[in-house]
Amino acid sequence: MKGRIVGLAAIGISLALGVASAARAQATDTVIDRIKAKKSISIGYREASIPFSYIDAQGKPIGYSTDLCTRVAATVKAALGLPDLEIKWVPVNLQNRIPLVANGTVDISCESAVNTIGRQAQVDFSSPFFISSTRFLVKAKSGIAELADLKGKSIALPINSVPERLIKSLIERDKLNIRIVPVRDNSEGFLALSTDRVDAFSTDDILLFGLRSKAPSPAGYEVVGKPLSFDSYGFLVQKNSTVFLSLVNATLARLAREGELQKLYQTWFEPLGVPLSAPLATTFQIIAIPE
């Protein structure tokens, strides 16, 4: 009981000192403290989120997001004065990335997470480094260009994804008679399309371009439709680690200012035939905050 009163008092005092402690935030940032104590930074990567974060033939994580986080580690190394800072790569997946960031196993998860208000309740997101839009993968010459063209036809949607939520709400809003086939992952979505189970597969357009490039005959498929959404990708950081988060965003800002972000984009996305879009070019300008 006594301990509880002391605890409550402590909470009261810390609330009262809230303004003052904000100034001392640098000393209490949990991620920074952890990195200093371990002399290492743990970066989360995915095994097959092409071209953001995936493993090469030697099992080494590579990709656009991975490259960006290597730069973040360099910034952290310089800012904290830790010349022997070590990078630890931790594999994550859609199911465990949030718990691993929340419990501190991963300091920053560098892959392809869409920023949503709901998710912000659990983690913080870095500045956007990529914009994806929900579009459709269809067979070439199918005549399908928009969602309305799918009336009386079928569409595959990845189960439990942001695009699924979007397309379902559009179908309900416009009362379209479109049959929805939920699929487990992107390769099943492509299988459903290639075996004519569905007439279109909808998800983030960058993933559709990736599927198309790996298809036995890429010319047999096309990515169509005007962008139905504007989904920004961010790195995942433990909630309320503002000092660490600003180091991450400062790195992205510097890379964008110096044109290195644009170069990295070309390295990873031109092979997929996805040139830098106008919205993404603008996004790079917006995140290029001056020092």
């Binding site: 949030i98 718990p99 929340a102 659990q122 459903a192 189970r197 909630k239």
Partner: protein, 238 residues
């Protein structure tokens, strides 16, 4: 651990509704598959206990095929591969016309898989009935069908109630594999809540509790059935 617990998410719309729909789908898929499994499994089990070598070969092949291929693979094969092997019209009907193809495929796949396991148990139950019973039944003038219906099966089923209980429990747990072909059952719904809110721990805890409640209910029901049907002095449980 810096995780913002929010148990309230479980009772918020639309998440509570999703959980409810998930539970309903899990129960529907499992019970429908259970009915297929029990009827088909019993039939195959009876034939498997026959003395005809040809019959045993057919039923044995079924059992080996369905029992030895992982359920995950079977679901995938039924859903994606079988329509491609059928004549074009039939394949197109399965892919385009059949209502809720993923749910029906899941029920059939889970039912056929579990039937192979129940068949083995039923056959074992029949084999466990003392041989004198079968001989006495025939000697008193019963036909083969009558001997099975009136003498062998009533005893065999009593013997295999405990392993059948495990099988029914397994059906409910195996129904979660249906999410791989797009069935929104309980596990898929909890993953959906985790994907929308990132409150994965709360959603998975809820699913765990629901699976536990289902399992305990099934166990209790089966124990009651076992007690009710027990022949005094012959109970398998001491």
């Amino acid at each position: 651990m810096n995780y913002a617990w929010n148990w309230g998410v479980l009772v918020q719309p639309p998440y509570l509704e999703w959980l409810g729909q998930g539970i309903a789908m899990t129960l529907a898929v499992s019970i429908a598959a259970g009915i297929i499994a029990l009827s088909l499994g019993t039939l195959i089990g009876i034939f498997h206990s026959s003395t005809s070598g040809a019959m045993r070969l057919v039923t044995g092949s079924y059992i080996n095929l369905f029992r030895n291929v992982p359920l995950l693979l079977q679901m995938f094969l039924w859903f994606f591969v079988v329509p491609e092997l059928l004549p074009k019209a039939a394949g197109t009907w399965l892919k385009r016309e059949l209502p809720n193809p993923e749910i029906i495929t899941a029920i059939v796949a889970l039912g056929l898989f579990t039937a192979s396991r129940i068949a083995v148990q039923v056959a074992a139950g029949i084999a466990a009935v003392p041989g004198g019973q079968s001989m006495a039944a025939r000697a008193s003038g019963l036909s083969t069908v009558q001997a099975y219906r009136l003498v062998l099966l009533p005893q065999a089923f009593r013997i295999v109630v405990p392993p059948l209980t495990s099988e029914f429990l397994t059906i409910f747990k195996n129904s979660s594999i249906a999410l791989t072909i797009g069935v929104y059952e309980l596990t898929a719904r909890t993953q959906q809540i985790q994907s929308f809110t990132y409150q994965g721990f709360e959603a998975f805890t809820a699913a765990t509790v629901v699976y536990m409640v289902i399992a305990l209910t099934v166990t209790t029901l089966m124990t009651v059935i076992e007690r009710r049907v027990a022949i005094p002095g012959q109970s398998a449980r001491v």
